[in-house]
């Protein structure tokens, strides 16, 4: 326990330097901006901003990128409440009751409770990361290749179960993602695989290029089919601070939301997205009068908002302790760390304690900043929504081009975001969700490496995955989950969660 405080203390001494404070603020500001604007997400933004971090110190760079991610969670709820447009996938649930509250003239209270709930969740999540960091790191050190492989398989199964829509399509996307990750030079034999003989493919497909194609360009193409005209009217926001009655109603949902979100966030396979849905369903089940939900129940804002922020932050845990990115944003963090010569994994904590604890401390500071940025500046953010999409997408397009070009100075990278954009758009048209594909791609290389290593150690026997107890347990969890998800009754329940 004493360790924890001295470590956190060390972290704060790093996060509170002038430069890092400034970078955290910048990250939170950009994050809020992309959170507010529908059609721009944190993945494309972080990919665009990667080159900017080249000149920074690694700690500062990661502090800024992390700020963008959790800042977007705050920003997304602002537009969800005020104009019924979810800025991010995680704030979809907030539109249900948040916007109803706004219609009843309680927009300020909804924003206030969302921000306060998120701040509370962020604080708890910071402590959770700090407390779980050390034990999980120790656990990771006893993991061999077989365990790593099984853990990643479990993560991918989670991603299948948690994905929207058809399970078959989600599986297809994950396998396709892993297949794409095998493009390039084979690490052990040096032979080129699936490269069409093209020299720029011999290093494999660059993750930033794939991410920007699928989440930058394909998103633009998808949005072009879906734009509509809407009235964006300035509303009276009303008082911002919730009163005692509001707090009485919402402190329990915030606590529950934080717990659910934090647990789901740790799961590899992008559990953070599910947090708000799970929290909303739970509050509705627990409520004395469920019919209030959908008509401006404050619990329906407080719980999910706490859950999404807690999940966004605890999703750093697998990355920092095990070196496994649980979602696409964390995969970009891997990219940012590799650029600065840091290998993500259990050794980060011992070899780069400044980075590990500085980043954790900065998250709490960032949450405090977001509370301040968001509430008084609500009017400014809402005005941003008046930027019409037909002007926004050309700007996004140019930023994507410049961003991807400046990573490697290769015009072919720019062309490839176009190609992947088209492929992503086709996949979306065919009803596939691109998020699992990206996760499969991210884990693919690690997956193959560990599979081969484990098989070499076991002299080609697949039994090794079942004989080693931890590995067997992880695979069992994965198998049970997959079976459960395929059972008709549970499948129905899963669909309902997403439909709501």
């Amino acid at each position: 326990m004493g360790d924890l405080f001295s470590n956190l203390n060390h972290g704060f001494s790093i996060a509170l330097t002038f430069q890092n404070l400034g970078l955290a603020f910048l990250g939170c500001l950009v994050g809020t901006l992309v959170g507010v604007l529908p059609g721009v997400g944190p993945i494309a933004t972080i990919a665009m901003l990667l080159p900017i971090t080249f000149g920074l110190e690694p700690v500062g760079a990661l502090i800024m990128l992390a700020g963008i991610y959790y800042g977007a969670q705050y920003g997304g709820s602002t537009t969800a409440i005020l104009v019924n447009i979810p800025g991010e996938a995680t704030s979809v649930v907030t539109t249900l009751d948040g916007h109803q509250m706004a219609r009843q003239g309680r927009a300020g209270v909804a924003l206030g409770i969302a921000a306060i709930g998120s701040f509370f969740a962020g604080t708890v999540a910071t402590v959770v990361i700090a407390a779980l960091g050390a034990p999980l790191t120790r656990l990771a050190l006893i993991f061999g290749p077989a365990e790593y492989f099984s853990l990643m398989v479990m993560g991918l199964v989670f991603a299948v179960v948690l994905a929207r829509g058809s399970i078959l399509k989600a599986i297809a996307m994950i396998v396709l993602g892993v297949l794409l990750s095998t493009v390039g030079t084979d690490l052990e034999t040096g032979q080129e695989r699936l490269t069409f003989g093209l020299p720029f493919l011999s290093d494999g497909i660059d993750f930033a290029v794939l991410a920007m194609g699928i989440f930058g360009v394909a998103e633009i193409l998808r949005n072009l089919d879906h734009t509509e005209t809407r009235n964006v009217v300035q509303q009276a926001i009303g008082r911002l601070l919730p009163n005692r009655e509001d707090f009485r109603q919402s402190w329990r949902p915030v606590l529950r939301g934080t717990t659910i979100g934090a647990i789901l966030g740790i799961l590899p396979g992008n559990g953070a997205v599910l947090g708000p849905f799970a929290s909303y369903t739970m509050e509705k089940k627990l409520a004395k009068d469920p019919s209030r939900f959908g008509r401006g129940a404050i619990e329906g804002v407080a719980g999910p908002e706490a859950a999404n922020n807690a999940g966004a932050q605890t999703s750093f845990i697998p990355l920092l302790t095990l070196g496994i990115p649980p979602n696409a944003v964390m995969a970009l963090m891997v990219g940012a760390m590799t650029i600065h010569g840091i290998v993500p994994g259990p050794q980060v904590m011992t070899r780069n304690p400044d980075l590990f604890w500085g980043m954790i401390a900065s998250m709490w500071i960032g949450n405090l900043m977001l509370l301040i940025i968001n509430l008084p500046l609500v009017g400014v953010w809402v005005r941003l929504l008046k930027v019409p999409y037909h002007l926004m997408f050309p700007a996004i397009l140019m930023f994507c081009c410049i961003g991807i070009y400046s990573i490697n100075s290769l015009p072919t990278d720019v062309m490839f975001i176009g190609l992947f954009g088209i492929v992503g758009y086709i996949l979306i048209k065919f009803g596939f969700e691109p998020a699992p594909l990206l996760l499969g791609f991210v884990l693919g290389k690690l997956l193959e490496e560990n599979l081969r290593r484990a098989l070499i150690l076991s002299r080609g026997s697949l039994d090794t995955f079942i004989e080693r107890p931890i590995s067997a347990a992880l695979l069992a969890v994965a198998a049970v989950l997959l079976v459960l998800a395929l059972l008709p009754s549970i499948r129905k329940g899963r669909d309902e969660v997403f439909v709501e």
Binding site: I85, K169, D225, E228, L391, M398, S406, G418, K429, F430
Partner: protein, 223 residues
């Protein structure tokens, strides 16, 4: 469930045995990708489990993708599902053109006999914005010009001046127009200022129509 604006399970207007054109097309697409991967990996050694060759995992995965595709095709014949939503080609084609224009002008480019001098961000940026803008039917040139003339100098200063990234800003022939005593950075700044002033002038001379109706994205899946 899906984000498709057409809604789930349209009234049956099908001809033939396919009950979900979306799943059918998706399945075929996966089968094609799997076939492509198997074709590309055909000459690589498989190896054994004890020491896996380069082709083993890609082959397994390709079979996996193919199996999913096959299952989708079968499902599309057995179960009702969504139809393929109609979409115009305008968006994808124009956006692709804009990206190609950027890639081909940012630095010297040659394809066979055809060659383009490197024009740098000062040309590539506005090209991407203005061509890209035509991806939507409600395009108006003037706002696009203003956008191009204001964002490009912003990016030039941010990436070229403040961050010192090695991205070409303008062609050398353009730099030769300036007095020899000017440094690259000074030329960059002067150009940025001129572009920003042009944007401002365009903005001020344009008529402004106050309106609360704007187009926004209607979806909930931004990641």
């Amino acid at each position: 469930m899906s984000l498709s604006p057409q809604g789930v399970a349209q009234p049956p207007m099908r001809r033939g045995p396919i009950r979900s054109t979306q799943n059918f097309a998706g399945g075929l697409f996966l089968l094609a990708l799997a076939a492509l991967a198997l074709y590309l990996a055909r000459n690589l050694p498989q190896g054994s489990l004890r020491s896996m060759g380069p082709a083993m995992l890609p082959d397994w995965l390709a079979y996996g993708v193919g199996a999913c595709g096959f299952a989708l095709v079968v499902m599309s014949l057995l179960r009702d599902g969504e139809a393929l939503a109609k979409s115009s080609l305008r968006g994808p084609v124009v956006v692709l053109l804009a990206i190609l224009a950027f890639a081909m002008t940012i630095r010297p480019f040659s394809l066979g006999a055809m060659g383009l001098p490197g024009l740098g961000m000062v040309v590539a940026g506005p090209l991407a914005i203005i061509i890209g803008g035509y991806a939507t039917p409600d395009v108006r040139l003037r706002p696009l010009l203003i956008l191009a003339l204001s964002l490009t100098p912003f990016c030039m200063v941010l990436f070229g001046d403040l961050l010192n990234l090695p991205i070409p800003i303008f062609p050398q022939s353009f730099a030769n127009l300036f007095p020899a005593s000017w440094s690259q950075k000074e030329i960059l700044r002067a150009t940025a200022v001129v572009m920003a002033i042009a944007a401002l002038a365009l903005f001020l001379t344009g008529r402004r129509r106050p309106s609360n109706r704007i187009d926004v994205v209607d979806h909930s899946g931004t990641m």
